[in-house]
Every structure is written in structure tokens, then in C-alpha cells.
Symmetry: C2
Subunit: 308 residues, 2 copies
């Protein structure tokens, strides 16, 4: 049976510069990427977010047309939507933030709509851990809670973050952040320390090198799809976790085996996202294309062996 999915995250405008070009203000925010990725699956997905009155109707329409429930998205009149602008360097692995305008985020008081309070899967997207906790507190009895975080919260909100990490089932974090959080260089050691903090499942994202899923003493390794061209890495991690969680929601099961497949689906979605600026690739891709790419992932690592 499908599970209902509740996603907390930002809806934003971004301006992005990469070695391949420069955008004007385009649609962004982690809830946007997560929602668009999740919309590939036949699930009920509700977003909890906040926008200003400059948020374009075309963009809310886009998200609604993908079947996303926006009743948890609050508009704050007279305020502007969260804005981020950044520049990726030549290797695309590092970026510099040019401008961050929190705008409506400073007044974000998240409210989970009644019909999503009983969602069995909750994704706490990358945001202030106080806001993530406020959403979790409104849920009746989720069977799986997933959180994403980043360096800013590790540096400045450590106590609250640790408290929240203690309450979630799955954490998604990148390699450098896992090292920062645990002060361990080895990702295997870092994952153990994080598991000891609470989460039974730890996902460590390694950018172009793929992702690792840790559970008990087991490890699953999803490759990064080698791509000829990467235009814009923005939203790759969000597309990843969006695909991950939406597959689990559709499947209605959350075992390690299910999560392995979910990690591959997330990786496939992320591989689409980075091939165009912003949300463009996610907006137009079909489920058929996603299925084909997943087969590409399968072929990428399959081998036969019989040692004598």
C-alpha cells in the first residue's frame, strides 16, 4: 500500500552561475526539487513551506500540476520569497554563495495540514533544525522520518541538531559534512558515529562519486553516473532524497533492501537534475526516461564472477 509523504523544505528563487552559463532568477528551494523528484511516483505528497507574494502563480501551478499538495505552503503577504545566488567553480564540486536573502524564512512557522498529520513518511528537508523539529512534533506517528542537513546547521545549531538527529530513522548528509559532524575522516567510522547518535540508516552523499547507505554493519554503494556534461549541481542532493523517499512511499516498505533500490532511484533523479540548470530537467523528464536511466545504473555496476 502506498504511504502518504510529508515534505518540509524551502521554496525559493535562485540565481546560478556555473562554467556553462548564468541564469536569472529561477525556481529553486529544496522542497521544490524534492517535490518534483517525488512526483515521478504514484503517491500523495504534501509540501510544507513558505513563500512571499512575489512567488509566481506559474510556479505554484507547475507544482500542483505534478500532483503535489500545496495546502501546507503559506504565503506571507508583503514579504519576499527566500533567495539564494551562488557561483560554481570550474570543477563544479565547490561553490561560493554570492547572496542569501532569507526573507520569508525568518517568519516561517510551519503548519502541517490536518490530512498530512498521519503521513507515515516524513522528510525534513535542509532547514533550521528548530523548524524541522516543529514539523516532526506535529506528526501523529510516522513510521519513517528522514532528515537532510548541511554544514551551516552543524556549525551554528549543533545542540538542537544533535537532539533532532536522535529522533530520526534516516539521515542524508554529504561526505564533508559527515566528517565535520563526527570528526572522523573514514566515512565508515563517521557513519558508525552517526548511527550511535540515533539514525538506523545513514546516507552519505559523495557528489559525482555516488552515495553510500549504511545500516547496522551493512554498506550499499550507489555509483555516480559518469556524465559527459554537468551544467548545474544545484538541487542534486534534494532530487536524490526526493526520489529516495518517494520510491519508499510508493512501495510502502522501508527495509534495507528497499532502501538500496531507493538510493539508486535517487541517484538516477539527481543525474537528470545536474544536466540542466535549475529544475528544468526534473520538470520535463518522463517516468520512461527514469526507468531507462535506472537500467543504465544497473549495467554500470553489474559483473559476473566465478573464481576457481
Amino acid at each position: 500500500m502506498n504511504d502518504k509523504l510529508l515534505v518540509l523544505g524551502t521554496m525559493a528563487y535562485d540565481a546560478i552561475e556555473s562554467p556553462f552559463g548564468k541564469t536569472g532568477k529561477i525556481l529553486g528551494g529544496c522542497a521544490t526539487y524534492i517535490g518534483l523528484a517525488a512526483s515521478q511516483f504514484k503517491i500523495q505528497c504534501g509540501l510544507v513551506s513558505v513563500i512571499g507574494d512575489d512567488f509566481k502563480t506559474a510556479h505554484t501551478n507547475l507544482l500542483s500540476s505534478k500532483g503535489l499538495d500545496l495546502s501546507g505552503v503559506v504565503t506571507i503577504p508583503g514579504e519576499k520569497t527566500f533567495f539564494w545566488s551562488g557561483k560554481y567553480h570550474n570543477d563544479l564540486n565547490t561553490r561560493t554563495t554570492i547572496d542569501t536573502q532569507l526573507n520569508v524564512l525568518t517568519k516561517f512557522d510551519p503548519k502541517v495540514p490536518e490530512k498530512f498529520k498521519d503521513a507515515s513518511i516524513v522528510l525534513l528537508g535542509n532547514l533550521d533544525p528548530n523548524i524541522q523539529a516543529a514539523v516532526l512534533d506535529q506528526m501523529s506517528a510516522p513510521k519513517l522520518v528522514v532528515m537532510d542537513t548541511m554544514n551551516f546547521w552543524i556549525e551554528s545549531y549543533r545542540d538542537k541538531l544533535d537532539e533532532l538527529i536522535g529522533k530520526v530513522d534516516v539521515i542524508s548528509i554529504n561526505d564533508e559534512e559527515a566528517r565535520q559532524l563526527t570528526e572522523k575522516h573514514s566515512l565508515v567510522e563517521a557513519a558508525k558515529v552517526i548511527q550511535d547518535m540515533g539514525p538506523k540508516y545513514v546516507i552519505i552523499k559523495k557528489g559525482e562519486h555516488g552515495a553510500l547507505l549504511f545500516h547496522e554493519n551493512k554498506i550499499f554503494c550507489a555509483p555516480g553516473l559518469p556524465l559527459e556534461e554537468v551544467f548545474d549541481p544545484t538541487g542534486a542532493g534534494d532530487s536524490f532524497i526526493g526520489g529516495f523517499i518517494a520510491y519508499l512511499s510508493q512501495r510502502g516498505k522501508v527495509s534495507f533492501e528497499d532502501m538500496k533500490t531507493a538510493v539508486i532511484i535517487g541517484s538516477a533523479l539527481a543525474s537528470f537534475t545536474v544536466q540542466e540548470f535549475g529544475t528544468k530537467a526534473l520538470e520535463k523528464m518522463s517516468f520512461k526516461e527514469l526507468s531507462e536511466r535506472i537500467q543504465t545504473f544497473k549495467r554500470l555496476t553489474e559483473f559476473e564472477i566465478e573464481l576457481t
Copy 2:
């Protein structure tokens, strides 16, 4: 039918410092690591190398006891064996060379023993491309020629290196060197440029992130085994290519499918090497341990998927 394997490479003494400790002069050199890795397989493997009269009998005995043919290893009296000392930094991905004493290498005039001139597989280990070419010229009709190289030869011996690359079937190179050689950041693009230079198969090593094998438009991705502790990365690339080539030699086949398996075997051997200083792990490991580790690699990337 097994193929005869001829390996060109250095035999050396190394002194290594890593965050986990410091060694005195220990056995090193690419031919040593390649030979020890290859000795896991039931093949005839001959080494072509050069040593000084300081090279310890215990070390030649060790290599002979593993079934390696040393008739192509020349001792230059009154000269010392090649010596390298280096220090790995905290992340183990970067190292600084402290000292390089070429010693016998400056007088190396490689001679392939008669009985190995008809070897069907040749591995040209990381050395001056002039020496690699001199060995290749002595072979009668190898069916597969594999070469390894590194930044030093790319920077200083470019013309000769390009000429040699045009004559080999497989090249093994690390990610940064592939980018340096081709001036392409994307590894997919870099591999295409290298394929256009000659080699039908291109292996790009990504250290802890595994390795990619390119052939025509196909890509195979071998994961890096996530390890709790890495003591010393020295010889990882050599163990990798040694295992790769020895498996192909034993198998007597060199298709893309065979090479996929060979890449996994190389990765497994490299994963042993880095867990102890120098050649220690390779010296004592058993074929049973290797087989078990290969199963670990299989489990690491296997997933089931059925999308509806």
C-alpha cells in the same frame, strides 16, 4: 588456456610516513606490487626490472617463492636500488615526496628473457615511456598490451608518451592524470580523448572512489570498498593493475565482460594493500580471502529493481 604474462616495472625500497605511522626502508616498486598481486593467480608471470646489489636476498626469495620468474631482473653491481620516500597527508589522498634516488634506474636497459618474448599479455608498469617502448619492441606478438603512467611522464615526456599510448590496448591512469593528459574535466570526455589516442580500453582510477572502465560507448564502474582504516595507499594502483592483468591472463580472454570482472579483482587486491604498510598485506593474503572480498564487492553494489 592461461596466457603468459610479462611485467615491466620498478623494484625499489620505500620509506613511508602516513598519519598512522612511519616505516624504515621497506620493499616497494611497481613490479613488486604487481607481481605479488598477480601471484594470486595460476599463471606464468615474469618480471623485467633492475636492482642494485643492496637488494636483499630475502626479498628476491620472497618474490620467487610466490612463483614469479625473475630471470628478467638485472642486478647492477656497485649500484643501489631505486629508493623513494614520501609522506601522506591526513586525508591520505595527497602525498609529498621527501626523497627520490633513481640509482640503478638511470642505467636500466631492460631485457625481456627469451621465454617471455612470446608472452601474450604485457604490462608496462609506470616508468620512463622510452623504457616501456623498449620492452614492447622486444615482444613478438602480444595480444594485449596494458600500460600505466603518471603525472611526471605526462609533464616531461609528452611526445614519447603519446607515441606509446598509440600502441597499447589498455591504459590505466588516475583521474587527475587523465584530466592533465586531455585537458578535459569530465572523465567521460577525458576517456573519449584517450580512446582517440589509441587504447581501446581506458581505466580511470579514482582512489577511494573506485575505478571506471571505458570501452567504445560502454562504462563500467567499480566501487571503492569503504574501509574503516587505510594505513598506506602506496602500491594500491599497482596492486589494482596487477590483479586486473593476472585475472585476464589466467582466463585467457580479454573481452569487455572479462575486463569488468578483472577491474573488480584489481579493486579487491588494492583494498587489501592499503590496509597495511607496504607489501605486507599482499604477502600474506590467501586466495580464499581474496574470493571473500570479491563477494563483498558484489554485495556492495547489488540491488533488485522492478519499476511499475
